[in-house]
């Protein structure tokens, strides 16, 4: 049956319910596009034959292939769109610089889309607060205090805070740091907010 490869692409994304971005399946995309070309050519030939020789009984088959073309189109559009939604979420969760392993999973056009989205978001945020700008990606939950106690979950190396002090983030070390500095790292899973 047609359109199996297209549905496989959808299943690939559907499996990752937590919003992770899997590698761009360029191969799969190409196979679906090839199937669409083959279907289209068969249909063109049948349509010409039906018109030239008046063979109306070819029409159900033409219609079937047309349904398959539409289905493949739907699957590809949904695949690409869902990936964009995941990339958009990455900007809000990780910040504007993505880790290299995530960037590897994006194709060239997606990288371009991401940088344009970043620019749009940045210019929007700059326009808020009467020309001063407001970082919307900070403080996603209402903060309870200015400084928070955090524990380091993995080795992250050196970390500089606003007054110039450099802190060494080693696994299992605890620190008392300003909330706004830690927020990105907490979301990335490097630090953990300790609630005593």
């Amino acid at each position: 049956m047609f359109c199996e490869k297209a549905v496989e692409l959808i299943r690939e994304l559907h499996r990752m319910t937590d919003g992770q971005l899997p590698a761009f399946n360029e191969d799969g995309l190409r196979q679906v596009l090839q199937e669409m070309e083959a279907l289209y050519e068969q249909n063109q030939a049948d349509v010409n034959e039906a018109k030239a020789e008046g063979r109306a009984e070819l029409i159900p088959s033409i219609k079937l292939r047309h349904c398959c073309l539409l289905r493949n189109q739907r699957c590809l559009t949904a695949y690409l769109y869902d990936r964009l939604l995941r990339m958009r979420a990455l900007r809000w969760e990780y910040g504007s610089v993505l880790p290299a392993n995530v960037r590897f999973h994006m194709c060239a056009e997606e990288v371009q889309w991401f940088s344009q989205y970043k620019k749009s978001l940045a210019s929007f945020m700059r326009s808020l607060g009467g020309g001063e700008g407001l970082d919307l990606t900070q403080d996603m939950k209402p903060p309870k205090s200015l400084y928070i106690e955090v524990r380091c979950l993995k080795d992250h190396g050196e970390f500089e805070i606003d007054d110039g002090t450099v802190i060494l983030l080693k696994k299992n070390s605890q620190h008392f740091l300003p909330r706004w500095k830690c927020e990105q790292l907490i979301r990335q899973g490097v630090l953990e907010h300790v609630v005593s």
Binding site: M1, V7, I10, E57, P60, K63, C67, L85
Partner: protein
């Protein structure tokens, strides 16, 4: 990663599908038993039980929902769709008697979704099917809601296994 920011396209409501919804695409991939009401020339290779070049009229085969919907026409010149077992009289009586007993996941993961889509095929039993779908949901809703609100720190996998994918609440 915190998943608050990833907002996928949700499935459509009732008889509508959302074009970009991954759930709706997977739902419409389910296969249905159909009977062809006309000949499909040059597509014999899709129906592997014979070596014919065409699919003759009156062939019983299985087609995915998306294809059945696409080809179906009211005047029935193209194909006729058989109701899957779960939506027929026998099972409907079971659901009407006690909706909570049934393992919906075993009945196919998209009981409500597929049932709603079956209404597109103008079966004379449509009003009864719609009624049963609604009553089943209403009947199971109370227990599902209760379990999800009161499942703090417990392993709910045994419960969730018996739910349809629409109801698999976090």
């Amino acid at each position: 990663m915190d998943t608050q920011s990833y907002l996928p396209v949700e499935p459509g409501v009732g008889m509508e599908e959302n074009f970009l919804s991954l759930d709706d695409i997977l739902l419409s991939h389910e296969r249905l038993p159909i009977r062809t009401e006309c000949r499909f020339p040059r597509l014999g290779y899709l129906e592997r039980s014979t070596d014919a070049q065409d699919i003759p009229e009156g062939t019983k085969m299985e087609l995915p929902l998306w294809l059945s919907k696409g080809l179906y026409e009211k005047k029935r010149r193209v194909l006729s769709v058989e109701l899957p077992k779960v939506y027929r009289e026998g099972w409907r009586t079971v659901f009407n008697a006690d909706p909570n007993v049934v393992d919906l996941h075993k009945m196919g993961p998209y009981y409500y979704g597929l049932g709603s889509q079956m209404l597109h095929f103008d079966s004379p039993e449509n009003p009864e099917i719609a009624q049963t779908l609604l009553q089943t949901f209403v009947g199971r809703f109370r227990r599902n809601m209760d379990s999800s609100q009161n499942a703090y720190n417990e392993d709910t996998s045994a419960l969730v296994e018996r739910l349809d994918s629409t109801c698999t609440l976090k």
